[in-house]
């Protein structure tokens, strides 16, 4: 049982690291700001979720598990909002945005 727990935890962390590696590749390979932000946000949400889930499995039931869950909550609240604001700033300030992506008119 203990072994299964450790293996599951490590597998989750490795999955999270894989997501992070993908996000980093995307961050460096893409050219345009919004594409790069999309890649980075992937690591900020899915990658951190898998890593922290792995840690939660490793530490087992208890107070630490709750803390890690709170960290996930906070990051899932804060990081997408930060991305949203960055994207909004790009949308407002970049003149030729229509040449890069589709813009839905309000």
């Amino acid at each position: 049982m203990e072994n299964v727990k450790i293996i599951a935890g490590i597998a989750l962390i490795v999955l999270g690291l894989f997501v992070y590696v993908t996000a980093t590749f995307g961050l460096f390979r893409f050219q345009y700001v919004l594409n790069r932000m999309h890649a980075a946000a992937l690591g900020d949400t899915l990658g951190i979720l898998f890593v922290l889930l792995g840690l939660m499995v490793l530490v087992g039931f208890g107070f630490h598990m709750l803390r890690l869950g709170l960290i996930i909550c906070f990051l899932w609240l804060a990081s997408p909002v930060a991305s949203h604001l960055l994207a909004k700033a790009e949308f407002v300030t970049f003149k030729h945005i229509k040449s890069e992506c589709e813009v839905v008119e309000k």
Partner: protein, 315 residues
């Protein structure tokens, strides 16, 4: 007599010129005062250009000043590097037994710290009891820094022109008009949690890692988040320059008074009448809790003050 008066007059004018130069100078007035002792080369080369373009002269003076400035900068840098290198050479060897870091003070802190300060968190006991004066200096430095930034960046009658006024007015209109729904919704959830967490870190400073500085930073970031998401106008309804001044100076004075009391009693071998309490309880370890709260308030206000002054120039 007349000579003296003349020299005085000259001095005054050069002083005035210096003042105008410090204040940025104008097109009519020369940027640099004429230097009394000019090198011969410059004297020989100057007159032609001077007559051709009066602007040129200013530029020449400025470039010479920059030359001196660079030489001075290099000299000061070299001297500082030399002094620091000599100081490093004078340091005791790493790990030798008669280093100042291995003297009896450390033993005292480790062995008697809990008993004397009542703080479970040894670091809090050290920085807010044994070395509280040092921490007082740190919080005063923060306060001083924010005061200086206020002097330089605060927008008041003397520090604005019409364009800036128009710009701020427009910003205010935009702020009042357009709120980012996503940001405000999330901020409504996050800000109370962040504030409560900051208060927890401050109040728990003597029991667990944390204390005034870290907790104050968390509270300050919550204040900054509020200012970002709801705008400066709503922020200034409950936190403006007057409240900032009152809160910060009150906290510093409470800190100074309580620490002066304990210094006075300690130096005169009097009993301090402040119960140390049971180590581990929230109301324990004497003055440390009060000092932590004071430091936390100062740090939170300073963090927010820096943000507000550097972005908008108002508090």
């Amino acid at each position: 007599m007349s000579k003296m008066a003349r020299s005085k007059k000259e001095k005054q004018t050069s002083w005035q010129r210096f003042c105008t130069w410090v204040n940025g100078g104008t097109a009519e007035q020369p940027l640099l005062p004429a230097e009394p002792a000019k090198p011969k080369k410059a004297k020989a080369a100057k007159p032609k250009k001077q007559k051709a373009q009066p602007v040129r002269k200013e530029w020449m003076g400025l470039s010479r000043f920059e030359h001196i400035y660079r030489i001075c900068a290099v000299l000061i840098g070299v001297v500082m590097v030399g002094v620091l290198m000599i100081a490093v050479l004078q340091l005791p060897l790493f790990g030798s037994p008669d280093n100042p870091s291995v003297n009896e003070v450390v033993e005292r802190y480790v062995e008697k710290g809990l008993e004397e300060t009542g703080a479970v968190n040894m670091v809090a006991g050290m920085i807010l009891d044994y070395r509280a004066f040092d921490t007082f200096g740190e919080s005063s430095v923060l306060f001083l820094a924010v005061t200086c930034v206020t002097m330089l960046l605060m927008r008041d009658r003397n520090n604005t022109n019409k364009e800036e006024d128009l710009l701020t007015a427009r910003e205010h209109v935009i702020e009042g008009y357009e709120e980012d729904i996503i940001l405000t919704k999330v901020a409504r959830i996050v800000i109370p949690c962040a504030l409560v967490y900051g208060v927890y870190v401050v109040l728990n400073g003597h029991l667990s890692p944390g204390g005034g500085f870290s907790g104050g930073t968390i509270m300050g970031s919550a204040l900054i988040l509020f200012a970002v998401s709801f705008g400066m106008i709503r922020m200034s309804q409950f936190f403006n320059y007057a409240t900032f001044r009152k809160i910060t100076s009150c906290a510093l004075m409470v800190y100074a008074a309580s620490k002066a009391y304990s210094f006075f009693t300690g130096a005169n071998h009097l009993e301090s009448h402040i119960p140390l309490g049971v180590p581990g309880a929230i109301l324990s370890s004497g003055l440390i809790l009060i000092l932590d709260i004071c430091v936390g308030i100062v740090v939170a206000c300073t963090m927010y003050g820096f943000y507000a002054l550097f972005t908008k120039g108002e508090l």
